[in-house]
């Protein structure tokens, strides 16, 4: 419990570390989602053109 309390600054310290985790997870998630979206869009377009040919 002393570790969690951080000498009375627990709320400040843990909220900063939690926010950091949220930013890292968001950056990773957003990067992957954008890559997949661009890749799938190209996949659909290129395959449609190939089938048309």
């Amino acid at each position: 419990m002393d570790t969690l309390a951080m000498g009375g600054y627990g709320a400040y310290v843990w909220s900063c570390f939690t926010l950091t985790v949220v930013v890292f997870v968001f950056n990773t998630w957003r990067t992957r989602v954008r890559h997949r979206a661009v890749y799938r869009d190209l996949e659909v377009r290129i395959k449609a053109v190939e089938e048309h040919l």
Binding site: V23, F24, E50
Partner: protein, 250 residues
Amino acid sequence: MWTYLHKLASPPHFYGLANTLIPWFAVPGYLLIAFGAFAGLFVAPPDYQQGDAFRIIYVHVPAAYLSMMAYLLMAVAGGIGLIWRMKLAHAVAAAAAPLGAAFTFLALATGSIWGRPMWGTWWEWGDPRLTSELILLFLYFGYMALRSAIDDVAKADKASAIFALVGAVNIPIIHFSVEWWSSLHQGPTLIKEGGPAMDPAMLYPLLAMIFGFTLVFGAQLLRRVRTEVLYRERRTRWVRHMILTQEGES
């Protein structure tokens, strides 16, 4: 040397190479962060003035450092793209902006949370370090808005590179603001005459966090540059070939 750089700047080569490099950045990066966070939270002794509140330094300083480094990278890459007309450099600049904005937000938010118990306020408008860091966040927003407002990629690259180069003047202002003007913010801890003003038990976790954040930033940047390259090269033969043969998905 020039042949290698020329090859590196080739989009298909970079697209494959980046995919190989990502785990080499991400795995050591997350390991360093895990070590730094554990040692910073549970091993380092409390500060004699700030007590345990000083542990916020382990996320605040790496975030603030990356907020400036990402902008410098954006400006340098934009400059290279303008001078040598290197498409990959513009892709790097475009990919760095959202990551830089995220780290700037993190630096501002953790700084504000740290300021509440130490200074008695969440925010101080008259403080040069806080205000110049907030301007950095607006510069990132302006850069991204400018890019998305111009449909032509080549024109967007040129305009945003000039914007990034002009905005780079804010970086030395942020760094030296605590020396040039009176500020609530503490002075430099790591980069100062006579070496870092920290006990090794506090310093090593901080260095681990800074290197860890930088490596993870590198991994995320490489992934974003791949996406930029893929989008910009969407009409080329190598992308068509890669999509049809399913060689490049990850």
